[in-house]
């Protein structure tokens, strides 16, 4: 394929063609060879849409709440893109993607674009694909971008952590507050929504979460995540979630550029990490060299130390060994 046809998909994206938006997201998730050049072509249009990450345990009502949040965004005559990430089977690599069933009222609304994405299990690859897909939606001109993942595992964590604001959705009856703490979800939360607040135990969970937030943030110069309750399925309390999101956005306003740049550094780190790993171990000569060391009978740690020494010598200033 020529560079001209690559540019043309980017042009069609910028011209507002929905098919081009869909195909460019496929390029992002397939790590298509044309994507980096395409991103170059539309990069100047990236960075306009606020990005909201939504995560939480299975069954907490994330998709239903996303559906309601999208409705609220549409009521303000703003457009929204939703990226719904579901896990791939570790056995076959296949996936059943069903989140959009709960957002079906928006299917024929031209102001809403919903895309399902399978996590494909690759370490770091998921976050890269999701961030790229958010960039594509942003450049296309959608006013808001939502990304939804099940709150389990490092890959999903990396996905939502790339958003400007992270909304953690919990519900009563799915474990107590200590489990939410253990899962690490609270560390990434900018807003905590206790969904299904009409069920017994919701008030207790909200109190637990407020307490946990207080323990984490008391006496520190950090953002204190608001805890709000709602029943998305009954369209109750969604405005409280929106207000809490808006308050975090207002808090970010002064340093949004720095906030996003810090997240881009993480993105670059992942991209470099993957390329470096491939260059060292797949196409490069690390494996035979380590094999040679091991053949001499040294321990794995000694073999690692030798290789590390070789590598740091050629990397120069970029490397700083952690002090012991």
């Amino acid at each position: 394929m020529t560079d001209a046809t690559r540019a043309s998909l980017a042009d069609r994206l910028l011209a507002g063609e929905r098919g081009a938006l869909a195909r460019m997201i496929s390029w992002a998730e397939n790590a298509h060879a044309g994507f980096p050049a395409a991103l170059e072509a539309f990069w100047s249009r990236v960075g306009r849409a606020p990005r909201l990450g939504i995560t939480g345990p299975p069954g907490a009502g994330k998709s239903t709440l996303v559906d309601e949040l999208a409705r609220a965004v549409r009521a303000q005559e703003r457009t929204v893109g939703v990226l719904a990430v579901d896990p791939s089977s570790p056995l076959t690599g296949g996936a059943l993607l069903g989140d959009r069933i709960r957002m079906e009222d928006h299917t024929t609304d031209p102001g809403v674009f919903i895309r399902s994405m399978a996590s494909r299990g690759s370490h770091g690859g998921m976050a890269r694909a999701a961030v790229d897909a958010m960039d594509v939606m942003d450049a296309y001109g959608l006013d808001e971008v939502f990304v939804e993942t099940v709150g389990v595992g490092q890959a999903e964590y990396d996905v939502v952590a790339a958003a400007d604001t992270v909304l953690v959705v919990l519900c009563p009856g799915a474990g107590d507050g200590v489990q939410a703490l253990k899962s690490g979800l609270l560390e990434v939360a900018d807003v905590i929504a206790i969904n299904k607040a009409d069920l017994p135990g919701a008030d207790r969970l909200a109190t637990d979460m407020e307490e946990s937030v207080h323990i984490r943030t008391a006496g520190r110069e950090v953002w204190t995540p608001p805890v709000v309750t709602c029943s998305a399925g009954r369209r109750d309390g969604v405005e409280r979630v929106l207000e809490a999101i808006a308050s975090h956005r207002a808090h970010l306003e002064d340093h949004l550029v720095e906030h996003r740049r810090a997240k881009r550094v993480q993105q670059v780190r992942q991209v470099v990490g993957q390329r470096l790993d491939h260059a060292l171990w797949v196409t490069g000569a690390c494996a035979p060299r380590v094999e040679a060391h091991l053949r001499e009978g040294v321990t794995p740690y000694a073999a690692a130390a030798r290789l590390f020494e070789d590598l740091t010598r050629s990397l120069g200033d970029l490397v700083q060994e952690p002090s012991a």
């Binding site: 394929m1 046809t5 929905r18 098919g19 869909a22 195909r23 997201i25 496929s26 397939n30 790590a31 298509h32 060879a33 791939s88 089977s89 076959t92 690599g93 296949g94 996936a95 059943l96 993607l97 069903g98 959009r100 069933i101 079906e104 299917t107 024929t108 674009f113 919903i114 895309r115 399902s116 399978a118 494909r120 690759s122 690859g125 993957q274 491939h278």
Partner: protein, 141 residues
């Protein structure tokens, strides 16, 4: 480092409340390593085509047991074509008489599968057909 996977939309057009077959096929295709989006029940042809577009699927599989296939299947195809998706692989299944199957296969549907079809053979058919189309497209897609 391209890692393309076959993406399939399994859809239920019209007023047909039975989706055990659709769910069975969706699960089998998933087990064959495909990424399967399921629409849920009662979708209009326009909704199905719009979902196919947004999800950028390689395959649209329609399931119908209501008898309205000669009406609904061609309309889904029209909606797909109007969105520039004439190249998507279209397959279908359900309670469909043999003559109707032949007629639909003459109207842009690649293949129709009737009751009793071995589900793995559906997956094999899709894999072969999509691989052939991808090879034709080259790296253009």
């Amino acid at each position: 480092m391209s890692e393309r996977r076959i993406r399939v939309l399994v859809a239920k057009p019209g007023l047909d409340g039975h989706d055990r077959g659709a769910k069975t096929v969706a699960s089998v295709l998933r087990d064959h390593g495909m990424e399967v989006v399921y629409t849920g029940l009662h979708k209009t042809p326009a909704m199905i085509a719009e979902i196919a577009l947004q999800e950028d699927v390689d395959v649209v599989g329609l399931s119908i047991l209501s008898g309205a296939h000669m009406e609904l299947f061609p309309r889904v195809r029209e909606e797909l074509v109007s969105r520039g998706m004439e190249r998507v692989l279209m397959v279908g299944g359900g309670i469909i008489p043999k003559d109707d199957m032949a007629a639909l296969e003459g109207q842009g549907f690649a293949k129709l599968f009737g009751p009793g079809t071995n589900t793995d053979s559906i997956a094999e058919y899709i894999k072969e057909e999509v691989a052939r189309r991808w090879a034709e497209e080259g790296s253009e897609a």
